[in-house]
Each structure stands twice: as structure tokens, then as C-alpha cells.
Amino acid sequence: MTSVNQSVIRRAPRRRRSRLGGLRQASPLTYFALIVATALSVFPIYWMFVVASRTNDAIRATPPPLLPGGHFFDNVSRLLDNENAMFLVGLANSAIVASVVTVSQVFFCSLAGFAFAKLRFRGKNALLLFIIATMAVPVQLGIIPLYMLMVEIGWLNELQSVIVPFLVSGFGVFMMRQYASQAISDELIEAARVDGCSTFRIYWNVVLPVLRPAAAVLGLLQFMAMWNEFIWPFAALSRGDQPTVQVSLRRLSEGFFTDFSLVFAGVALSVLPLVVVFIVFGRQIIGGIMEGAVKA
């Protein structure tokens, strides 16, 4: 231990100059490999916009088109005329579902995370371990009884069937608990108690403002997850008139479709909102994923 400490002290000046001191300099080959990886990642997303802006004849040409064309709005208007897919309803429903779940997750997960990190109560550790264990349970396997339950309570083909089960998650509670236990000092809580704050007021006025960065990341991750959720909405909403956008996509592509430009207009529109979110908040999303990785 001492030798490690000494070497840290000896090298301190160099470390201050660069946080990444000691890392190898990237070679041109590294850049080349990373550019290839980025290109492969971006290409299918780029290409869905290419196809969405072409006519079907152009898509079937050899070689296939690699540059966008001028038919995007034609394709979109044909998409919106498609009565079976209900694409606009799907977009609106997905926005509602993802927003409601995001707000609810941020509230309930941070509240429970705060309780686990900073409050004393009997059985706390056992309950926390239980929550961690639930993260490894493949919940998808319960969709058959879940479906029966929804039929029973009359929620089948209603939006609440894809909202209510996701209002709070073990992942979110654990993430907020990890952040709260290091970001909030016990003195801060005690000081608020001395001032006569109730526990909920402490949460609302003291804890929640401190948790804001982690809450934002949780909100972003949950918004994306809900927007993209497929298997359960497919079971719960596939036959009604309240599809989410993913269910609309599924209806578009059902059957042996040949109208690629129409389907791809839907694909591009369904992906566009999240790509915009990612470009704006990419740094925070990356930070959240990487911090979670170290703590887990």
C-alpha cells in the first residue's frame, strides 16, 4: 500500500496536467478501427432514412441506393393514409406511455432509493437484496398470466396495460439508491430534521434537488426503454385501436409487404425522436451507463 501511495505522490504533478496521463496515445490504426466501428453503427440508421426517401422502384435498383432521395414526404403521407397501422395514434400513444412512465419512475424510484440509502428501518437490507434479485428475473416469462390478468380487469387493448406495470422498477430504485448513498451526507438529513422537516419534506426539498443528475439519466433511459418496448405491447395492444408506435410498425410489416418505402417511412419516424434525444443528451446517457457499470 505504501509503495502505491508514494508513487502517486511522486507522479502527482504529471497527473494534474492530464486526467488521462499514463494512457497510451491512440495510433492511426486505432482511429481507423474506431471510424470503421462508428460507420458500421451509424450506417443502418442512415440507410433507413435513405430508403424512406426513395420510391419503391429506386429501392429495387441494382446497385441499391446509398444517397437520400426526394420522396420522404410522399412516403410519409402514404404512411399516414394507412388505416390499419394507425401510425399517428401509435406515435401519440408512445409519447404518452413513455412520458408517464418516465415521470413516475423518477419520482417513485428516487423516493425508494432515498429510503434505502438514508433512512433506518427494519428489514432494509433483506428488502434491498430482494430488489436486486428481481433485476435478474426474466419478467417476460409471466406474460401469459399477465395477459389473463389484463383480460380479467378489462385493461386489454387499453393504454394503462402497458403503463401501470412499469411505473417503478428495481433497476431504477437500485440506481437511485447507489447515487443517493454517496451524494447525500447524513449531516444534511440530520440538519433538516432538526429544523423540523418531515421525512417527505426532506425528500422533496433536500434530497430530490441533489439527485437531479442521476434522476435525469434514469428518466432518459426509461423513456427510451418504454418507447422501444415491444413484446408486452404486442401481446396487450395488438388487436385494439390503441397501438404504441412499435405495434404500428409491426402492423405495417405484417404480411409479405412489398411497399418498402412506406414501411421505412414509419421506421424512420419511429426512430427519429430517440436519435434526436441521443444527439442532445448523449454525454449524459454515456455517463449514466458507465457509472452504473462501475457500481454494479
Binding site: 416469462l141 398470466p145 390478468l149 410498425l249 454494479a296
Partner: protein
């Protein structure tokens, strides 16, 4: 998964109950009772929403799946208890074993290259780089797209007649491949969809773990004359062991439930996974039995079989990965 439970337990044990401000006796008593109640019981109120929802929509359905699997249960009407008959049928069901074979096959040919590539990418990203954030965003962007949308895109990329892949292969003189028609080709195509989406995500997880490795380890290894490769194998890999185990377990749980990619990749979008069931997974088979054949009991038996498969594969992978990363020490 390593969980930091200990410090908070120890840290909270010593905290004394908070002092209170002075008021008249009766007022104080009432207030104290309220405050005591608040301190003692309100935590349960705060964590209750998770437990209520999980019991209602998570745990109950999974347990109830087992009860349903013991019944002959059509989607409409009452079920009839038939004991283990569904499971007996399942063991002799060729289509079920075919689905298990497909699921495990696709899982292996997607996960192994995916995690190795992610490790390599993380190794590249863990250097002094210009445009660091841009490259990280570049490899992560597939993660924000929906599987359903992307699988449709790959359906066209792998199309027999106008697909990009066949066009590129054609330039090298390879005859067009009907990707969905064969087991091997459809497995490869589906694996690329999975890998396209998850490789960058896993790379960032590995990168985070690499950055937590103390630099001094590498410095003293360099002084001892260890090569870059030797350092990677003898320092990086052993230090990443918990993270590698974590990603393998997560990939196992997710990979064996594979559903959306093959469903949306299939032209026509059927749940049978091609004309000969060449890429039908267990999750698809469960769905087909329950919601297309309306046999909830049999579908539930498939669900439990899948649950067991995940459990066995999870334990197996844990043991394999632990042994491999032990030997690199």
C-alpha cells in the same frame, strides 16, 4: 454483481435520534407521536410502490404461469387440471427441441463474438483520443434504436433480391443467398442484428471497468518489461473479471429470451420463424402456443421450460467464465 451494502449499514447505526425544538407539553407530545410515526414507518410507505407493482405484475404472473402450465387451458373458458401432461408432451415435442436448438445456437454465435469485439473496442477507446465523446456516441447509437425498427431494416439489408449484403457479395462473385431460408444463414443474420445493437453498449461497460484499474499496475509491469499484450492478458482481463461475469450473465438472460429480432426479421412477420421453423426461438414458440394456438396451458409450460433453460445456462456460463478468467491470472 458486487453490492456496496456494508458501508451504509455501518454508517447509519451510529446516528442518534434527532433533537427537537421546544413547544408546550401537549403540542410537543402530539408532534412527537407524529414525528416518531414518520421516522419509523414512512420508509415502508416510500418503498411500497415497487413491491406492490412487482408482486402484482411480476412475481404473481410468474408463479401463476406454473399453475396454468398444469392445466388444459384454452384462451376462453375454464381450465382443467391435468397435472404434468403439458410437460410430458413438451419433452416429446420436436418443434420445442428445435426451438431450444435455435435459441442456444443463435445465443452462442451472437454472444461470443459480441463480447470479444466489445472487449477489443473498449481497449481501443481506453487511450488518449481526439473526439472521445464522438466515438463513444458513435458506438452507442444503435442502443437507442428500437429492435423492431432495426430488424425491419436488416430484413431489407439481407433481402434475397435487392439486399445490400447480397449485392456486396455479388461484387465478389458470390451467388445471391436466400438468408431466411436456411438455419445457418438466418442464424448469422439474426446474430448481426443482436450484435449491432449491443456491442457498443458492452464496450462502454468494459471501458468503465478498465478506467477503474489503477494505472500503477501497468507502470510497474512496464518497468518489469511486460509487453502490451502480456499486460492486457495478465492485468486487464483478471481485473475485469467481475464485469465480464456480469455482462455474460446479462447477455444470457437477455439472449435466451430472444424474440423481437427474429419476429420482425422474418418476411411476413410470422411467429414460426421461417417456413421450416429454421429460426424459431423458445420465446417465439411460447408466444405462438399461447396467443396463436390459444393454448395457454401449453404456452405456460414452454415459459417454465425457458425459465429453467436460462437458469441452467446462467450457472453454466458463470462457471465457465470464472474458470477461464482464473486461468489467465
Amino acid at each position: 454483481m458486487k453490492v456496496e451494502l456494508d458501508n451504509s449499514i455501518v454508517g447509519q447505526g451510529g446516528a442518534s435520534p434527532p433533537p427537537r425544538t421546544q413547544h408546550t407539553a401537549s403540542e410537543r407530545q402530539g408532534r412527537n407521536r407524529l414525528a416518531n410515526w414518520d421516522i419509523k414507518y414512512s420508509p415502508y410507505l416510500y418503498i411500497a410502490p415497487f413491491f406492490i407493482l412487482f408482486l402484482a405484475f411480476g412475481l404473481f404472473p410468474i408463479c401463476y404461469t406454473f399453475w396454468v402450465s398444469l392445466q388444459d387451458r384454452p384462451i376462453l373458458g375454464q381450465g382443467e387440471f391435468i397435472g404434468l401432461d403439458n410437460y410430458v408432451d413438451l419433452l416429446q415435442d420436436e418443434n420445442f427441441w428445435n426451438a431450444v436448438y435455435n435459441t442456444v445456437g443463435i445465443f452462442i454465435i451472437s454472444t461470443v463474438p459480441q463480447l470479444l469485439t466489445a472487449l477489443f473496442l473498449a481497449h481501443l477507446l481506453n487511450r488518449q483520443l481526439r473526439a472521445r465523446t464522438l466515438f463513444r456516441m458513435g458506438v452507442l447509437i444503435p442502443y437507442v434504436t428500437s429492435v423492431a425498427a432495426v430488424a425491419i431494416v436488416f430484413n431489407l439489408i439481407y433481402a434475397r433480391d435487392y439486399g445490400l449484403v447480397n449485392w456486396v457479395l455479388g461484387a465478389f462473385g458470390v451467388d445471391p443467398i436466400d438468408w431466411q431460408a436456411h438455419k445457418w444463414s438466418s442464424w448469422i443474420a439474426i446474430s448481426t442484428i443482436v450484435d449491432w445493437r449491443w456491442t457498443g453498449y458492452n464496450a462502454l461497460i468494459y471501458l468503465a471497468a478498465m478506467q477503474a484499474i489503477p494505472r500503477d499496475l501497468y507502470e510497474s509491469a512496464s518497468l518489469d518489461g511486460a509487453s502490451q499484450w502480456r499486460q492486457f492478458w495478465s492485468i486487464t482481463i483478471p481485473m475485469l473479471r467481475p464485469t465480464i461475469i456480469f455482462t455474460v450473465i446479462i447477455s444470457t438472460i437477455g439472449g435466451l429470451q430472444l424474440f423481437t429480432e427474429p419476429v420482425m426479421f422474418a418476411s411476413g412477420g410470422g411467429l414460426s420463424g421461417g417456413t421450416q421453423r429454421q429460426f424459431q426461438t423458445v420465446a417465439m414458440y411460447m408466444y405462438e402456443q399461447a396467443f396463436y394456438r390459444f393454448d395457454l396451458g401449453y404456452g405456460s409450460a414452454v415459459a417454465w421450460a425457458l425459465f429453467l433453460l436460462i437458469l441452467v445456462a446462467g450457472v453454466l456460463n458463470f462457471l465457465i467464465v470464472r474458470r477461464i478468467s482464473d486461468s489467465s491470472r
